[in-house]
Every structure is written in C-alpha cells, then in structure tokens.
Symmetry: C2
Subunit: 354 residues, 2 copies
C-alpha cells in the first residue's frame, strides 16, 4: 500500500468552522483516498458531523480542543488564549511533532501566522515567513509572494522569498528552474524601490541553480503570467491580490447585468450557457483557495475564511500536492545550495552585509 | 459668447505622436467647441496634419519646437535635452505663463513629471505631487492617487493626497464632501503600514470640511467603489492600477475564447452582441484615459502613451472638465481651509511635527 499523507485540520477555523471543514474534507478524500486527517476541534460540534460523514470519520483521528480562535481575535490575544489548547494551535503543533505533514486552517490569518511562527519557528537563514498565493494567469498559474505575512522587505528577504517561491513552483508546477520576477513599477533597472533594485542586482550577479531570474515585472504581468513566480513585499502583494479579486468580481457583475439586460441577450446567454459555465469555473476563486505559509519549519495552508466545502477541499488538495511533491525537502535543498554558493561549503560566519 | 478653454498639447508625445494627438483633438473639439488649443510640435509633422484637420487648425495656435522627448528618455536626460525647447516643456510652460489652463501630453511619465515639477513647482505646503487616476467601479468612478509619481509617503503626504484627491472628486463628480479611504491591508485601526495608521488617526481627529474620512479600505474596495477617493503611496498605487488593468484584460481574453469555442456559444454571442458591445464599452480602458498631476501650480494631464485618437480625446475631455469645474481653485480653497484649521487664521509658523 502507498504511503498515506497525514494532514491536520483546524476544524473550528473559518466563518462556518466544522460545517464547511468536514464536508470539505470529504470532497478532498474522494479525490485523494490516501489522506489521513488529524482533526482538532470541539467534540460537541465535530462528533455529530463525523457521523454524517463516515468516510472522513474512518480516515481520521479526532482530538477535542476547548478553545476555538474567533475570526476577529488579534494575533497577540490568540497566542495568549489559544496557545497549547486551541484547535488552531494543536493543528499546527501536529506538524511540529511530525504527526502531520501539513496543517490546514480557515481561521484568521494574523492569528494563524502568529501561532505558526511561534510554534514552528522560521527556517535557518530565513528571517521572515511569507504567504504565497496561487495566481490564475492567462498562461496557467503563477506563485505570488508575499501576499500579506509582513510589511516591507529588504533585498535579502526578497531573495529569500524568491528561493521559497521557486521551490513552491518546482513542487506545484513541476518546472525544473522556474522563472522569477520582482514586482516593481517600471521594468528598467533604475526604476522603483531601492530594496527591489538591490535584490535584482544580486540575483543577476549570482545566478542560482534553482531559479531563473527574469528581471522586474509590473502589476499587469501578474495576469499575463509573464513569470512563474512573482516576488514582492507583503503590503503591495496583498493590495495586488485583493485588487485582482475585486476587479474579477466587478467584471463578473458587469457581465451578469449585461446578459440579463434584454430579451435578446438572455437568449444569447442560454445558447452560450456552456461557455459561460466554463468561464465561471475558470474565474471561480474557490479553485485557487489556499495561501501557503513558507519559510517556517513545516507547512501551513491558510484557506479563505469565507469559503465553502468545495473551496476548503481545494485548500486540502493544495496541502496534499505540497506534501506529495516534497515542498519542504525542495526548499531545504534550495536554501542549502544558495548559502553554499554564497559562502563556500565550509563557511560558517554570519550572512554579512548586502 | 462663453469663455473659451485654452488647452496646450504636447503634439509629439506618445507612441504615435501627432498621428494620434491631432485626430484626438478633433474628436474632443466636436464635443467641446469652446476649446482653444495651443499646439507644440515639429512643423514638418504637424502642419500637414493640420491641413487634414481644419477644425483643429482653426481652433489652434501652433508653435514649432525642435525637440521631441522620446518615450524611453530618462527624466534627468529629458530635463537636460528638452528644457525650454521641447514640445513637452513648452506645453507645460504655457500653463505656467497662463496661456493655457491645462496641458495634455502622452509622452513618457517620468520625463513629464520631472518637467512639470521643474517648471510649475509644487504648491505651497505640498511637498510632493501625485498622479491621480480615475478608476471605474461597480458604483461609477473613483479617484485613486498616487498611482506612481513617487515611492513611499509619510502621514502628512498622505493627508495632502487626501485633500488633493478630494478637490478632484469635487470637481469631477460634483460631490460636496467626497468620502476618502486610505488603502491598507486590513481595515482595523491597528493593521498595516505605520504611516497609513498615523494619517488615519490624524484625519479622524481633525475632521475636514472638504472631505469625509471613511477609514481604511483594501484592494478589493477599489473595484467596489466603496469610497470616492482612495489614497495611497505611489508604489502600491501603481501596482494596484496595473494589476486591475491586467486582470481586466485577462478576463476579457477568457471571455473571447469562451464565446468562440463552440458553434452554440458563437450563436449565443450573436444574440447577445449588443450586450457584449455594452460590456466592451464599459471595460474600454480608453474611456478613462488620463492621469492628473496634482499638487503643482497648474494642471498637467498624462495620456496613456499607447492610446489611439479616441483615448487621447478622453484625456482632453478630462482636462476640459478639470478646468470647467475649477479644479485648481478648489484645491487652493481646500488647502487654505486645511492649514487654517490646523494653525489658526493668524499662524505663519512652519507646519510643525506630525
């Protein structure tokens, strides 16, 4: 029998908690019967649901947790209240102990990141974690990071993000040496943020085995899919992500109102219904649900808090793929290679100035 | 006879220069016969075109300029080569001398901003200019600034942008007290960039007559049209603008390919053609062409470099509206009011710490 994939779930996380998580787990389990879940949540809520979803029950272990972190809890508060005992913490801890290969939570991002950092710690030589999103493009998909873990990033942190994102693209898309772009305003070398320019210079001067640095990219390159990985700091990255989501919704609204406006357009809609359904599927934000926390000693996947079971299943699918394709191993490999290249195999000194 | 509106045009600016500018001027002139153009450009190119567009010729004065600033000229280079003598400079200078009420150029943004700053200077109490874009939203239109004049902004500069953008919204939308949001990641007061939080606190503590501060907004609020004016620094603003443009193009591409995919969908397209045409018109980037340089002693409008005559005419329309609705006057009013409110009517000291 093939090796199973152990995934821990924060069953209480998200706007609807267990009502979405357990049905979502069922959907993912049908697609990947080799998943084994570790469920953390309140037994009063979870147990009755497991009786309704025996497939999930049979593929899971369940552990009761007194505390559920609310969606509006501040990170510091969440750590105070929920460390050791909340379903969120315990699902992350399962990754630390090795019981799970990856954790999934639809809980609040700030709390989840704070707990993940506290529990898993950042990897050696990585100063800050990043949240990576999968961005649907005209050419397929790209990895975009950081979309909101932290604000601001110096040149070295941007290079770290490039390595982390590169490893994720290798794991996700199976590309040997993904192309990487630094998000900037203007593509000329003299333009934009100084940290971005410095990172660009360093990436150009010291080519890496694991990534193919392609220069600066701009906001409109995100949708085009100009590169496999787009690297930016978390403020601009988060704004770009939400702006794209908002624009997609806005145009979807235009389209709906245009198609229902006249008798003729409604007939047209009926004829083209299959095409519209395809388009709708293509633009479905649930399909690319899941932000990947990178740079920690273990992988945590953040599902959108307001998603439904289908969207939650997509986040589990992503978690599954990341484990099956050995994301952690790839990141570790790439980091070792990068730091060897910079300091020679025997170097043990600090990372020095950049 | 009603007062005419004098507008200066950098005829050589843009990817196609006069070939787009003169026909664009013709289109705008039909809509606004009270415009009088001051054209600056190379006579060899412009004169033959004016013979083809006698309506523009009859409503214009023309001045020959030896130098045209190329689209890839760096700002410093443009200033060295083109000060005093280029069509770009002369069109801006016409605003300074009062010969024109506003200048329009499709030339390169960096050069145009550098020359505008050098020639017109920033307004009293304004440290940095901003570029304001008109953003189509589900509710109508919003003003978004800065979309790329400078990188970074402290709290005071963000407040300046709020006042400038508020005046533009008053002029453009005829709203007495436009709502203003600060672009941030997360809407809670404790979240996001420190400069943005400080600006938010100050705007809340000292309500302004000319604007109605509505708190933080996120990337997806841009498309929703949650507020009339969205304020941000130029790096994030530029990335948001280009991300939205890219996403709109990407979805347009999806839609076209979906509609041409099958026989049925093509029939559906024919039935709904009017609806699609409306949608296309709604998403037409040419309709909202024109970035407004704010915070200088005079208004300069930047048209997209790659636009066609229709798009260029939209930039002239915008210039016309800004003058007709007395943007400069409104900005001056709002700034006086703001600084009076802060320091009392008799205060003449420096602006102090924030």
């Amino acid at each position: 029998m093939a090796k199973t994939i152990p995934i821990s779930l924060d069953v209480m996380g998200g706007d609807s908690g267990a009502e979405v998580v357990i049905p979502g787990a069922e959907i993912a389990l049908v697609r990947h019967p080799d998943i084994r879940f570790q469920l953390f949540g309140n037994e009063k809520v979870v147990k009755p649901l497991l009786d309704k979803f025996p497939r999930v029950r049979d593929a899971s272990t369940f552990q009761h947790c007194d505390i559920a972190i609310a969606m509006d809890t501040k990170p510091s508060q969440a750590l105070r209240q929920g460390r050791w005992r909340s379903s969120m913490w315990r699902s992350i801890e399962a990754v630390k102990t090795g019981d799970a290969a990856v954790a999934v939570s639809a809980g609040n991002t700030g709390a989840l990141m704070a707990m993940s950092k506290f529990c898993l710690r950042t990897m050696a030589n990585i100063e800050r974690p990043a949240i990576a999103a999968i961005w649907p493009t005209s050419r397929g998909e790209s990895v975009v990071l950081d979309v909101g873990a932290t604000i601001g990033a110096d040149a070295q942190q941007l290079i770290d993000f490039a390595i982390l994102g590169g490893a994720m693209a290798r794991a996700l898309f199976g590309i040997e040496r993904p192309t990487i772009g630094l998000l900037n305003i203007g593509v000329e070398e003299v333009k934009g943020l100084e940290e971005v320019r410095t990172a660009g210079r360093l990436l150009r001067e010291t080519p890496l085995r694991s990534i193919d640095y392609a220069g600066f990219v701009e906001g409109d390159d995100l949708g085009k899919g100009t590169v496999d990985v787009v690297v930016t700091e978390g403020f601009a990255g988060n704004i770009a992500l939400k702006t794209a989501e908002g624009t997609a919704k806005q145009i979807g609204g235009y389209l709906r109102s245009a198609m229902s406006r006249t008798f003729m357009s409604r007939i047209g809609y009926l004829f083209a219904k299959n095409a519209f359904d395809l388009l709708k599927a293509k633009m479905d934000p649930r399909k690319v649900n899941g932000g990947v926390f990178l740079g920690l000693n273990g992988i945590v996947i953040k599902s959108h808090g307001g998603t439904d079971a289908e969207g939650y299943a997509a986040a589990i699918d992503l978690a599954y793929d990341m484990v099956r394709n050995e994301l952690t191993h790839k990141i570790a490999q790439d980091l070792v290679h990068y730091h060897r290249g910079r300091f020679g195999e025997t170097a043990t000194t600090s990372t020095g100035d950049l």
